[in-house]
């Protein structure tokens, strides 16, 4: 076959794919964490009518395959609402919401791990809700949440590989292209797997450092 061999340009292709994967991962992580945090705060403060909706939606997102969610968003919603949605938009929406559902659980647990006694003490000394959230709950909940969140995000990094099936040119899609061109699946998928592995290990290492820093700044041994 004319294009069967690997070429130096394949490295550029792989880097492009990695760039798309990382960009989508970072973007969906930021959006997902923000939504997850907002849901946890709304849940904690019992915003009227929110609790059942939040629980229902997050349960649905956590307990159904991400690939099915992706198909629903990419094929189902545009057909139902008669709108157009690009693969990147569908991927961003799906993975952001999926991340938000898992982040919500971690943030909610972090918030609920704070003793009611501390919050009552802050209340009787006149601190407002936002001051209590910012100064009492957030620092302790953050230290509690970082470990589980890193685990979730490492998993979400792997989940991004699913977006290749709707045509996003991420790392997995590039792997598929190289595989079809070179017909050397062992080498291609070993290299792709190694890149995902290195990215995941880097993420876990960074998360571990953040966690250590947070726990260092909150020296108590309670959590």
């Amino acid at each position: 076959m004319r294009y069967a061999d690997f070429t130096p340009y394949d490295i550029v292709l792989l880097l492009q794919g990695l760039g798309v994967t990382l960009a989508l991962f970072v973007g969906t992580t930021l959006i997902g964490l923000a939504i997850g945090l907002a849901l946890a705060v709304a849940h904690h403060y019992r915003v009227p009518g929110c609790r059942p909706v939040i629980v229902l939606v997050t349960e649905a997102l956590k307990n159904s395959p991400v690939l099915v969610q992706l198909f629903l968003v990419f094929f189902g919603i545009p057909a139902f609402l008669h709108i157009r949605m690009s693969p990147v938009e569908a991927a961003t929406l799906t993975i952001s919401l999926n991340t938000a559902a898992f982040a919500f659980v971690v943030f909610r647990s972090g918030i609920e791990s704070i003793d009611r006694d501390q919050i009552e003490a802050a209340q009787v000394f006149g601190l407002s809700r936002s001051q209590i959230l910012r100064l009492i709950i957030a620092p302790q909940a953050a230290a509690f949440s970082v470990g589980p969140l890193v685990g979730i995000l490492v998993n979400q990094l792997q989940v991004t590989s699913l977006i290749s099936v709707i045509g996003v040119f991420d790392l997995t899609k590039i792997g598929n292209i190289l595989n079809l061109r070179t017909l050397q699946p062992f080498i291609v998928w070993a290299v792709i797997g190694l890149i995902y592995y290195l990215a995941a290990k880097t993420l876990a290492h960074a998360g571990g450092r953040i966690e250590a820093a947070l726990r260092k700044s909150v020296k108590w041994g309670g959590i």
């Binding site: 006149g126 601190l127 020296k219």
Partner: protein, 244 residues
């Protein structure tokens, strides 16, 4: 002045405070006695607004704690020391004490810290300003709790069984500080089982029985044969406390 008028508190079907009336004048030390479950702590929690009233009214310096604005003003006038300290574990002793003065009273940080250090010195914890609650003993934590309350310069100090979680030696340390505060004229509402201490520092003693305030007498009269001791339930309670 703290005024409770016909205060009722209900948890589900249980009525834990039954038309309680209480007045605490500035400069008084009022001790609330009663068996466990008699409603003592609930009354304190109603005064500081942690429990909503089911009936009646509580005012602190005329501010109705049932209203939002009134509660804010009432909480500025009073400060609470809790049985289990309720310190913020992620903050040092200094951080615990300065948080509310900085965030609520809007004191400059340097001024709040100077005030906090002076209080820590006063309770013998000057060297522990940078310690986290986990690094302190129970008695030390409670002294930090007292400093945290005093840093707000409250007109009224509400103390909810502040020595119950402490061993006798630590209890002595804390009671000594409270006695000094009483001598300084600090107004206190004090829930305790330390009968002898209450007798020593209180100007008045009230007795709650199953949510009802059955006796409100000056201390000397409370312990007199023809005063509080003439009430069989109080005599029984005091003799049981002495045995314990």
């Amino acid at each position: 002045m703290i005024v409770a008028e016909n205060v009722e508190k209900r948890f589900g079907d249980a009525l834990v405070l039954k038309r309680v009336n209480l007045r605490v004048e500035p400069g008084e030390v009022v001790t609330i006695l009663g068996a466990s479950g008699s409603g003592k702590s609930t009354l304190i929690r109603c005064i500081n607004g942690l429990e909503a009233l089911s009936g009646g009214k509580i005012t602190v310096d005329g501010h109705d704690v049932s209203t939002k604005a009134g509660l804010v003003a009432a909480r500025r006038a009073s400060a609470t020391v809790f049985q289990l300290f309720n310190l913020y574990p992620h903050m040092t002793a200094l951080g615990n004490i300065t948080l509310a003065p900085i965030e609520v009273l809007k004191l400059p940080k340097a001024e709040a810290e100077a005030r906090a250090r002076a209080l820590l010195d006063k309770v013998g914890l000057g060297a522990h300003a940078g310690a986290y609650p986990q690094q302190l003993s129970g008695g030390q934590r409670q002294r930090v709790g007292i400093c945290r309350a005093l840093a707000m310069q409250p007109r009224y100090l509400l103390l909810d069984e502040v020595t119950s979680a402490l061993d006798p030696e630590m209890t002595g340390d804390v009671l000594r500080i409270l006695a000094e505060l009483a001598d300084d004229g600090t107004t206190m509402v004090f829930v305790t089982h330390e009968i002898e201490f209450a007798r020593h520092i209180s100007s008045r003693i009230v007795f709650l029985e199953q949510g009802e305030l059955i006796v409100d007498l000056p201390t000397a009269q409370f312990f007199a044969e023809d005063g509080g001791l003439a009430v069989p339930r109080i005599r029984q309670f005091l003799s049981k406390m002495k045995k314990d």
